[in-house]
Amino acid sequence: MARAQSQYLRIFSGSSTYQRWQSYYVNASVSWAGASWSYQPFDADGITAGGVQSESSISIRLPATTNVIEVVLQALDEARLAELQFYEFDTRLGNSAPQTEQTLIASYLGEVVGVKGGFTEIEMELGSSLAPVGAQVPPRTFSSRLVGAPCKL
């Protein structure tokens, strides 16, 4: 088997999809899963799954073009989700368009929780809004608006 992997990245929120990118078919838009995926030369870390503490977020590196910067910053500001999927396929059966037989080998869905990078490359961090620091439980605290100025007993 001439094995190859293709990556697909979808940025979405609820039922709205804002971007579909793929990084395998150079300078081509391909159809897959009922949608068109445009070419974007990105790459990503490996994907891990495990306990909450053991799993790290993943990073996706993209070229720092105006369009990409705009997309990722909007995703960051609006806490959009990004779904990264790895597919494996046999290049001998075709290498110009996604094969219907290709196998999903990994999938990761994360919230865009960080963006950093250099002038030519930008890195989008996908993770969880479960912040590792800070206290979030219970979610509400006594405030003046809620309870006024409490009595002193």
Binding site: R3, Q5, S13, G14, D43, A44, D45, G46, I47, T48, A49, G50, G51, V52, Q53, S54, E55, L73, Q74, L76, D77, A79, L81, E83, F86, E88, T103, L104, I105, A106, S107, Y108, L109, G110, E111, L126, S128, S129, L130, A131, V133, A135, Q136, V137, P138, P139, R140, T141, F142, S143, S144, R145, L146, V147, G148, A149, P150, C151, K152, L153
Partner: protein, 778 residues
């Protein structure tokens, strides 16, 4: 060797009357100290989440809510009536029955419970007055103000005590049988729940705002089924401020659940194999995949055995809470150990009393800890090649690793064990790193740990709390009625609202900075506000100008009459153009057009007193340079024009719509061409407009043949033409305008021709002004 459980307090049963006293006072520590002063709420402290559901005599929790408001008054005989407004929980909880409200450990007083607003009707304050012959009670004088109480369950409590009984300031306790209402996973019903997975889901959504797409609901449902089927219920209060991850890790393990993140989704899975109905599976297990030599990447096999010191026998002391129907819990301890081991320790304590109201739950947790420690002998790390497992394997799955160990000496052996997947790492190269934990099974392929946990049960001894001996109850311990909600609607209270808070905000503009010494609070005069900020809108591009400069920025083709513009000079800055570094009189605008006085001089510009980048040497060529790609002998001469609509019957006299407007169908159109160019001598230029079709010349008029005679000098307008008689005036019609120049006394057509378009019946954009160009030869 089996796991057994015992409880030291069970011996108290045989001690008769000694039992009552310690349990009566504090529920042996099962509840917070009952006889303490009523505590007040503190701004900034977390609002507790009461999460419980009493089912079949198990569950519920006693809470000691803080007060936000109070009222004290005394009667003529100096009996003190104390009222407290209490915050019970975040969210809406079940209605509280009369029998479930205590002050100290006594069922006294009356109350009114509500949600999302202030409870009761009492006005806070100290209304204690001296009564003749009595000692004036010393009640607190600051009794609080009203609040919105949005999304909170509240309760107004009131009790009256005779003179001399200083118990009006004692803590109020409530036994909650049904806590915060959530949509239960198992029956999709909104109501109180005792399932920890419901609580987890609530916290994920409300504390961390985890999007629904990132929550693996199917796994949560499986987890909820598991905890419910095995009686692992949560009956407690979430009140300590903590990190949600820490809470998850500290809590879920005691429900024999693990939280995982698979594919980025928050998920849970039982720590034990389960049957379809969620019960612990004690029969043969199956595994998802078998790894053999052909799957494993060479040299990636790494095994770590657990030291014997970590596997030595110990006694797990698991604390839980006996929660009787009378409301006041009793802390119990289940000592779980392998029979015949660790009778004198070592002891390992696990406190589940905050949420566990079931002895069996506590014992099974202890059994799980013991059994894992005893039977799990090693952990394994593997690097494996990609294969069919790749897409389906998730943490918690069982896999089998079967490898033959062939030695040059001695007999061959086989490494053949079941493992539980702890962690999966998939690299871009395709290899997969697995972290596995030994999963011990017996000869029937059943999980050893599961069987031991399933078999472990508590002694089932229920201790009397001694509360039946309490005689201070005013209300009946069997009064299950719920008092009426007498609360007023929020609009009837003088409560702080959004606007009143806003009014306290000091406007930045009004801050007096005059006393700030050397700090200059004013902005430079040439700075301007960029308006309201938005997220990620502070890209300097387009908001803060680049350094001022002159454009065009080169000397190529400079000619007299060319216009230069100072760009990026901040608004408000003074501008002064310079000729050989000397100010040019009157040249203080953003643009400057060279004149014959500039020939050979260097022209530059000042912006706020600073020289702008770039300068140019004014050329001597009197004509503009040719546009790119055109005949070098043709030069741009003017670029202006307007399009008007007019009534054809009164053309030129009645202009209906000017540029930017819309020509009405049926109206005539005319236009004129404006020239603002003083270089060419007057009387030497004229323009003719013709229909694009050269065979049908259209009359033109305007300033006659010699515009200078009718339009003045320098001519600012000439060549006005009226294309009357157009066959289709409201269609797109194209015109050609030719430029004539008087050369040696003769009119010579010098233009190469150009097009002029009217868009009648459509919006006329201002850009049409630039559609006209005249080319003249050098």
């Amino acid at each position: 060797m089996s796991i057994i459980s015992s409880d030291p307090l069970a011996f108290l049963i045989g001690q008769g009357g000694l039992v009552g006293t310690p349990l009566k006072e504090d529920g042996a520590g099962g509840a917070e100290n009952l006889d303490v002063s009523q505590r007040g709420a503190v701004i900034g402290e977390p609002i507790p989440i009461v999460f419980c559901r009493r089912v079949d005599g198990v569950g519920g929790v006693l809470i000691s809510p803080p007060a936000t408001e109070a009222r004290f008054s005394n009667s003529l005989i100096n009996s003190v009536t104390a009222s407290y407004h209490l915050v019970l929980s975040e969210g809406q909880i079940d209605s509280i029955q009369v029998r479930d409200v205590f002050q100290r450990s006594c069922r006294v007083g009356s109350f009114s419970q509500t949600y999302d607003k202030r409870a009761g009707t009492f006005i806070p304050g100290n209304f204690i007055v001296p009564r003749a012959g009595y000692t004036t009670p010393e009640c607190p004088s600051y009794c609080g103000t009203g609040g919105q109480y949005t999304g909170l369950s509240t309760l107004a409590f009131q009790a009256t005590y005779p003179d001399g009984i200083d118990q009006w300031n004692r803590q109020v306790h409530c036994f909650i049988r049904g806590g915060i209402h959530v949509t239960r996973l198992l029956d999709s019903t909104l109501g109180a729940s005792n399932n920890v997975v419901d609580l987890l889901l609530y916290l994920l959504r409300n504390s961390s705002k985890v999007p629904a797409a990132q929550i693996d609901t199917a796994s949560l449902l499986a987890g909820a089924t598991f905890t419910n089927a095995n009686g692992f219920w949560f009956n407690g209060v979430v009140k300590e401020s903590t990190n949600v991850r820490d809470w998850i890790n500290a809590t879920l393990q005691y429900f024999l659940l693990r939280q995982t993140r698979t594919g980025g989704k928050e998920a849970v899975s039982p720590l034990l194999p389960t049957n379809n109905n969620g019960t612990i599976k004690t029969t043969a297990v199956s595994w998802e995949f078998t790894f053999t030599e052909e799957h494993i990447i060479p040299d990636s096999f790494e095994i770590t055995y657990t030291s014997l010191a970590d596997r030595k026998p110990f006694c797990a002391m698991v604390l839980w809470r006996q929660q009787d129907d009378n409301g006041i819990g009793v802390i119990r301890t289940a000592e779980v150990r392998y029979e015949g081991t660790a009778a004198d320790g070592p002891f390992e304590q696990h406190d589940l009393s905050g949420f566990c109201a079931s002895e069996n739950h506590a014992v099974k947790v202890g059994a799980y800890i013991l059994s894992k420690r005893r039977h799990v002998t090693h952990r394994l790390q593997l690097g494996v090649k990609p294969d069919a497992f790749n897409a389906t394997l998730v943490p918690g799955d069982l896999v089998r690793v079967r490898l033959d160990r062939i030695a040059s000496t001695g007999s061959n052996s086989r490494h053949d064990y079941l493992y539980e997947v702890d962690r999966i790492g998939k690299s871009l190269a395709g290899d997969v790193q697995l972290e596995l934990t030994h999963f011990p099974i017996d000869a029937q392929l059943a999980s050893v740990v599961a069987k031991e946990v399933d078999a472990a049960t508590g002694a089932g001894v229920i201790l009397p709390t001694g509360l039946t001996g309490i005689t201070c109850d005013i209300n009946s311990d069997s009064d299950t009625t719920v008092p009426e909600d007498t609360s007023l609607p929020p609009e009837d209270w003088n409560l702080p609202d959004e606007s009143s808070f806003e009014s306290e905000i000091v406007e930045i503009d009004s801050i007096d900075t005059s006393g700030l010494g050397g700090i200059d609070s004013s902005l430079p005069s040439n700075w301007t506000s960029t308006g309201g900020a938005s997220e990620n809108s502070d890209n300097l591009s387009g908001q803060i100008s680049d350094a001022p400069s002159i454009t065009p920025d080169n000397n190529d083709g400079d000619y007299i009459g060319q216009s230069y513009t100072l760009k990026d000079c901040p608004s408000g800055c003074s501008v002064q153009w310079l000729r050989d570094d000397q100010p040019i009189s009157g040249a203080t605008g953003d643009s400057y057009t060279t004149t014959t006085a500039d020939i050979g001089a260097e022209i530059s510009s000042l912006c706020c007193g600073q020289k702008a980048a770039g300068s140019f040497e004014a050329g001597t060529d009197p004509l503009p340079p040719p546009p790119d790609g055109t005949n070098p002998n043709v030069r741009v001469y003017w670029v202006a024009g307007n399009v008007y609509c007019a009534n054809p019957s009164n053309a030129g006299a009645s202009v209906d719509v000017k540029r930017g407007g819309t020509c009405t169908q049926g109206k005539q159109v005319y236009g004129y061409i404006t020239v603002d160019y003083s270089y060419w001598e007057a009387g030497n230029v004229k323009v003719e407009a013709t229909e694009f079709d050269p065979d049908s010349c259209i009359a033109y008029d305007g300033c006659n043949a010699d515009p200078s005679t009718s339009c003045g000098e320098p001519f600012t307008q000439f060549g006005v033409f009226y294309p009357y008689g157009l066959p289709d005036v409201c269609d797109v019609t194209r015109y050609r305008t030719d430029l004539y120049r008087k050369i040696s006394g003769n009119w010579t057509k010098v233009s190469s021709g150009f097009n002029f378009s009217y868009y009648v019946g459509h919006n006329i954009p201002a850009s049409l002004e630039r559609l006209v160009a005249v080319y003249a030869p050098t």
